[in-house]
Symmetry: C2
Subunit: 323 residues, 2 copies
């Protein structure tokens, strides 16, 4: 980050995937004014299903910030009904990806707008506003990016791996189809290069599955490297284990130690501060500054407290850097 | 029809559109064994909406024959719920075309199968079988055909005219986009040219909006002209008025008399028998043989009785013809 002493007005950009990242997103949304918070959300999980453009992470973040998320599952909408899925099943259609009757509307409206020529950035904003989300939710790119995994069961599309096969296949390598030729969305790039940024936050999402698809878009990683604001990541590992999901399993399969150091190394070209869980305070991490704090987000208060710690760490780093 | 005296095993093909035609389809399904009845259904109303391939007439016929139609509306499924539509509306999405939560499953499964490369004929059969329909439901073509209308409000896609604008614009001309280059589906052509056919029935659907899109597919009209079996049409006019929908208004706008004769003339290159309502028995129609019978189908018994009269008329005509 720069030490030019320029006054910042507290703008924050946070990169995140779905469920885990959305928890911190909610915390950030409670402590950062809506007009100063931008969520950059993974679209590598997006796919066409039953004719619809499904953007699982954008929807999870949108529903979460709208206060409409299903609290039990972490994905989908609250008060959901499932008559569509039952009817699909009765027709012998694919029922491995759950789409609730009201969640389906989000997918259908998105599909319609994209078919009309609207950009994913535009549609994402329209849906978020319609649901009452105050902050800005953006994809890193309007172009299609598809996470695919080379596994012991062959090459699998992300949802085949994650939902249909419940991340049980062994992963040898990942790729982000379309990313190399994708253009960063102007809004995403503008948010990351805003001179008024106070912090860029990497939420505790899976670095390989949820953050990398965004970093793979030309210009995004470069923007993080060049950022004037501190880049602060919350480690998605506690006590050497993933809080949820395939992270630890995946790291092992990729030949990595399941460690805070591996997370720090993965982000080492742009990371200033790593926030790790307080129970890991005996661990030494080379590279970024390390701050230990409670990172397990069970309650809303946990989310808010972690968001405050993240922003405080960014301010501390900026102050130290400017010293 | 031919007078070769070949033994027929009672196979029947009926052409129809949506609601009005589906009433006679249900009657036919009660009097013709399922393995001998083929419904050829209009796809000129098909369109892409909210990402989905909507085939309104195929679905109306399918639900009707499955005993799953909404008895009140004539379209859509029984016991339907509308949470999807409410959610679309809340998102500011298009709500002018009603899609129920379970009806939506039919559309979504069709879209998925078509995206997988399946033909509309195949998918239509899969959905009909899954819903318990015994007879065969076919499109005239697997290729896309789109009814468009030149009106005093400009060129309108069918659903814009029919649903969004409730058929109020004045129609100057109709066209069936894609029809000229469409290929007839092999199954449709095989059904129409089956030497074992006993009758080809034109249901009391709108000749211009519901039957013509099928006749516009190269090979279909020719098959009717060359058919060995009698072609019997049920007139969709009673007392010079349409039972329902835009037929009379449309005929007037097209410069036609709203008369049985205009219906007979419209089909005159292949029609053998016109079934007109008994209340019109004073009317003389030049061209086809005319049979007067109750054609207003209010009850299931009405449908069955009309189906029986249609088949009897075909048999009478064949017998006379063979005499």
């Amino acid at each position: 980050m720069s030490g030019d002493g320029r006054r910042r007005d507290g703008r924050v950009v946070a990169l995140c995937g779905g469920i885990g990242g959305a928890k911190l997103a909610l915390g950030l949304a409670r402590v950062v004014p809506a007009d100063r918070l931008t969520m950059l959300v993974n679209t590598g999980d997006d796919f066409q299903h039953l004719g619809l453009h499904v953007s699982p992470d954008i929807d999870t973040v949108t529903y979460t910030l709208a206060g409409r998320a299903n609290a039990e599952t972490g994905w989908g909408r609250d008060g959901e009904s499932w008559r569509f899925m039952a009817a699909v099943r009765a027709l012998g259609g694919p029922d491995w990806f759950a789409l609730g009757d009201t969640d389906l509307a989000t997918k259908a409206v998105r599909t319609q707008r994209l078919a009309e020529g609207a950009r994913l950035t535009t549609v994402t904003g329209e849906i978020a506003r319609a649901l009452g989300v105050g902050c800005t939710i953006l994809p890193a790119s309007d172009d299609r990016i598809a996470t695919v995994l080379d596994t012991d069961e062959g090459r699998l599309a992300f949802q085949q791996y994650f939902v249909a096969r419940r991340w049980q296949p062994r992963v040898a390598a990942l790729a982000f189809e379309g990313a190399a030729t994708a253009r960063p969305a102007p809004e995403a790039l503008a948010a990351l290069t805003d001179p008024a940024l106070e912090a860029i936050v990497i939420c505790p999402s899976n670095p390989w599955l949820s953050i990398d698809p965004m970093l793979a878009v030309p210009g995004i990683r470069e923007a993080l490297r060049a950022a004037a604001a501190p880049v602060v990541a919350v480690a998605p590992l506690i006590g050497g284990a993933a809080v949820k999901g395939p992270l630890a399993k995946l790291m092992g399969e990729l030949g990595l130690a399941v460690s805070l150091q591996a997370i720090a190394d993965h982000y080492d070209d742009f990371l200033n501060v790593l926030i790790a869980d307080e129970t890991d305070s005996a661990v030494t991490v080379a590279g970024p500054a390390t701050v230990f704090a409670p990172t397990l987000m069970q309650s809303l208060d946990d989310r808010i407290a972690l968001a405050q710690r993240v922003l405080a760490a960014a301010r501390d780093h900026a102050a130290g850097d400017a010293r």
